[in-house]
Symmetry: C2
Subunit: 644 residues, 2 copies
């Protein structure tokens, strides 16, 4: 309807190759002379020749005495020779110059006796022994550092030694970053509805630094053809490469394409990748200009997979290959045949193998990049990858880091965040907890399938009106254990003052409800209560609207998007909402029994048994910690054993 | 004799463990609040909680129209529904807020028709479809970043989005660096005999940055107990860790031990490592203070293997494990049973496997660190490693870099440096040449043993009075080839003005000669000429004094350390020395025939056939390039075939 430009669908590799061939002969990098003290990590553009030898005089390699070797030739154990200071020797320390008349050094350890101005020796000195000759390290006028050399600390040391003052290096590669969008505000402005706080430019800044370019941030430009063009022209003049953020698609106010088309040349508009499709690759006067999509994850994919290889090529540096591990996929991934897809995953190291769990959230969620441990690339011609398949994961975090992470898949509670932070603090950053919120039921299945170390669960069994154990008896065949975590109060969260005067489940009819996702313990509880009251799901307006955490549910109520939802007291409390208690429930950690012996779980138990942890949880309100830390082993035949 | 302190011999790992246990509970790191724009690569000391949700209002995830889902429920292909702008819908672009009365977005692509203030739709909108709900990315008051988190670009983005202004991080870890030594001068002072230009502090500065500490450089302090103590006290007050360079052994003017012993505690003095033995590990008021030996390679070994793991531990960061490759050792390595030895090596990738060639030079040579590709650690209880053994090499360079390096082992000529620089320049830094100077004969054997890509040789056969081919016939059984490089003039290098009036080989008796190393073509030539003249080696004073390059030999003559030596015209020319021509010789590149097809050798041939290369060589003087670039194949039965 509004579409005025055609987006191509060029595969990533093909696009990169085509674009690089266009840029190939466009420019030679500028160089500059800089002081060697500023040269660390810069690249030499020309060879450096030594100006002084090192050492620049013959000097002693040992503490001892400098001698004439000829005067020592007949020394041996039967023929101790006495040398006279000044005439036959001088004392030298390591590094001291050897006077011209001497040609060897006898080290302290080989001197038999010393008194006043005499030494006695018992073996001859070989000519030039223990002398560091002039030029041993560096010979004046020799090539010290070649061209295109990345200056390392030892190179700086060598250059100082060789009396080099300045060195010719390639200038820093400036990358101009232009944020565009009328809705954008900077981070210092108070945001109003409709504003978007601009942060992509800071994401790009950090990434460009990581690629070893020099980011130059330009001010936000509103969606105005002439204004954006003006900014682009300025950046192209001042930089070696320009990134224009957003406006790269084919919407009403997407001007990047037309601007590049007017003052330069567009090579490619549209890549066969997801997210990241509406990227624009062009050049102005031979300088690359790239239109980057607005969603942060789309932008990140284009930065990592297009901007990075181009920039590294243009600064003559290698592109380190991503570190790859093999992981079993914990969940089926669907993918379009039209695009190569980049799926962010969390990784766990469980039973000595990696498990990758896709992060569900969209291209607009910067936090998915904060939390991702790796990325799976699903090729263009593949429809999806089945659960359990071994996949290649490009690591975004250190492997060690992943191996020291306790994986928690299951229900959400704020308590899990507190456990994470306490684990991190008590281990000085070595051990952490990674939580994925998929609800209690999925969490229990993750333990069954050995895809998680622990699963926080609160599964209410309607027959026995008890928590967790009946579900485990029914669904799990292995020996497992439960770590009692908290008893928490579930209830109905409503706006401050309870404007609809909600008192019980019966009052949920005719208000705007907001629900939790399928499989969550809270939803199972709601369904049970509705059933008990004889209320049909279809009578609840908003039953289908799902949030995956207590916090996001409470926030939606606070914002007036819904009138009521079920959740824990602590979430209501945090947002200053009213709360109608419904019941107390057992929020426990499920795990395979053999996990109890691992360091992972030992650290976890240490944390939840600490006073500081308990205090923090109590202060949230709505928690009872009487049983916290107790361990219940559930044997295959489900004899319940209590311990601790 | 002068020794007043006892050096212990503590194994590295044991020393590190012991020292860390002493430092263990000594200090908690200080923290500070900084602006998030400065937080990149810093570590959070406390968890960060979101101050604003993202998005902070419900907004459109697509370009399209916002609608009331209820008003669309009955739309289908048979029942086209018309919606009125303002009443039934508003236009929204991606990111636009959804007015409270609407609860779904229909995207452009699903709108059948639009004119003026009406749109027609043919399918219903599901409630909340294509809406990014408040808090989809970030929920206010949720934990955004945990403690002990290394801030990455995406974290900065997320914090801006969540309206975080400042973040609490651990303060930078300051490492004070104190260079001590009366003989030290800074790099701006004109050096006199006996001075040493101080550069270790800059080596340390770069390494500390690499370890993610913050180096603080202190001025040079002369060898004076009180002055060094004063500087140490100041640094200990201002920094988190202090490095005192040199003065760590037990010599006359080594004060570091006594100073630490007076104002703090020495934990270890002397490690079972070579180089690096006389290191001191101590602490003052719980802050680590380390005495580092003065020789740069010893210093580097202590920095990399002691300072680095300690610093990384104290800043709560992992120590990345060194990248290790397996290589065949090209030469036997001897090692002391008393120490763990660190042997620097050059690496070549030859016939699809790595070959490691030890770099011979001593602990005083900073250039050995410039040139090293890796390090072999020989354990304390091992006497040596045999030639051909597979060894673990810790990489100091990128693996790619090593794989793109042409290995040259053999004779030295300045021309090889020019080839290297031209190779680098024409490949934009991708391909380079690594030369090891062991003389022609060893070079030839390196080709025979497949330990080098090429060997520059000039082997004079006394029987045939011709170069190279007779040696190859005699020693090599495989098909090899020769690339003709240069014809060069060998002669006697003497001081300007030829004060001893040397005219021929006969005049070498009774002057101070300086020789080249055994196996070098130049030495073989000298021996032949001496023999021809009936002169005995023992008649040549200085016959045993060896230099391994023409440049260092010429420099020694210029400096007056010897009166004459044999070498090439270009070296004499560079140092303004006089030259008595003796003969012209063929300086060729020997290689296995199958190497001719490789990219390595193709790039090499490209370079030596270039005019720029030839011009540079000609300008040095003493070279003839009539045959440069010609290839001679020497088949197994040594039928000589000429080509090119």
């Amino acid at each position: 309807m509004y579409m005025n430009k055609y987006l191509s669908n060029v595969p990533l590799e093909e696009g990169l190759e085509k674009y690089l061939s266009v840029l190939k002969n466009s420019r030679v990098r500028d160089t500059e002379y800089i002081d060697i003290e500023e040269s660390l990590n810069r690249m030499s553009s020309d060879a450096v020749y030594a100006k002084l030898s090192s050492p620049f005089y013959n000097c002693s390699a040992m503490d001892g005495v400098a001698v004439k070797s000829k005067s020592t030739f007949f020394a041996n154990e039967q023929n101790i020779i006495t040398l006279i200071e000044g005439k036959d020797y001088v004392e030298v320390d390591t590094g001291d110059p050897i006077p011209k008349q001497f040609d060897a050094v006898i080290m302290i350890e080989d001197i038999l006796e010393k008194d006043n101005n005499k030494v006695k020796i018992y073996k001859p000195a070989i000519p030039w022994q223990h002398i560091r000759c002039l030029g041993e390290d560096i010979v004046e006028k020799e090539m010290l550092i070649p061209s295109f050399h990345n200056i390392k600390p030892q190179d700086v040391g060598a250059m100082i030694s060789a009396r080099i003052d300045k060195i010719q290096v390639f200038k820093e590669f400036k990358v101009g970053i232009i944020p565009t969008g009328t809705e954008l505000i900077d981070r210092y402005t108070d945001p109003k509805i409709g504003d978007i706080i601009e942060f992509n430019s800071r994401l790009f800044e950090g990434l460009i630094l990581d690629y070893e370019g020099k980011p130059i941030l330009y001010p936000i430009v509103e969606d105005n053809y002439e204004k954006i063009k003006h900014s682009v022209l300025q950046a192209i003049k001042e930089c070696d490469m320009v990134l224009v953020n957003a406006g790269s698609s084919q919407g009403r106010e997407d001007y990047t394409y037309d601007i590049i088309d007017e003052i330069g040349e567009v090579c490619i508009h549209g890549l066969a990748i997801k997210p990241g499709k509406p990227a624009i690759l062009g050049h102005i006067q031979g300088k690359p200009i790239i239109g980057i999509p607005g969603y942060p994850v789309s932008a990140w994919v284009v930065m990592e997979n297009m901007v990075k290889p181009i920039l590294r090529k243009l600064i003559y540096k290698d592109l380190e290959t991503a570190k790859i591990i093999h992981a079993a996929l914990s969940k089926r991934v669907m993918s379009s045949l039209k695009y190569e897809e980049f799926i962010r995953v969390k990784l766990g190291f469980i039973d000595n193998k990696y498990v990758a769990t896709p992060i569900k959230r969209g291209a607009g969620t910067i936090t998915s990049l904060v939390h991702a441990d790796g990325v799976i690339r699903v090729p263009q011609n593949i429809e999806g990858i089945e659960e359990g398949s071994l996949v290649n994961v490009e690591l975004l975090k250190d492997d060690n880091n992943i191996k020291n992470t306790i994986i928690s898949i299951g229900s959400h509670d704020i308590v899990m965040d507190i456990i994470n932070d306490e684990l991190i603090k008590s281990s000085l950053g070595k051990v952490s907890l990674s939580s994925t919120h998929v609800g209690s039921f999925q969490g229990m299945l993750a333990i069954k399938k050995h895809e998680s170390h622990i699963a926080p669960i609160h599964l209410f069994d309607t027959d026995t009106e008890s928590y967790n154990i009946p579900y485990i008896e029914k669904y799990i065949e292995e020996d497992v254990a439960i770590i009692k975590l908290v008893r928490r109060t579930q209830g109905l969260i409503v706006k401050k003052g309870n404007p609809f005067n909600i008192k019980s489940i019966k009052d949920l009819v005719n208000i705007r409800y907001i629900n939790r996702q399928k499989g969550s313990g809270t939803r199972i509880l709601l369904d049970y209560l509705l059933n008990k009251e004889g209320i049909k799901k279809s009578e609840i307006s908003g039953y289908e609207r799902e949030e995956s955490t207590h916090m996001s549910l409470a926030k939606a109520i606070q914002n007036g998007d819904a009138d009521c939802g079920m959740g824990v007291y602590s979430a209501a409390n945090i947002f200053g909402l009213d709360f109608i208690p419904i019941c107390d429930e057992e929020y426990d950690l499920l795990l395979n029994e053999n996990m109890l012996k691992t360091d992972y779980i030992k650290s976890l138990l240490d944390v939840i048994n600490k006073e500081i942890f308990k205090e923090k949880v109590i202060s949230l309100g709505g928690y009872n910690l009487d049983n916290t830390g107790k361990v219940i082993k559930l044997k295959r035949k489900v004899k319940v054993e209590y311990s601790n």
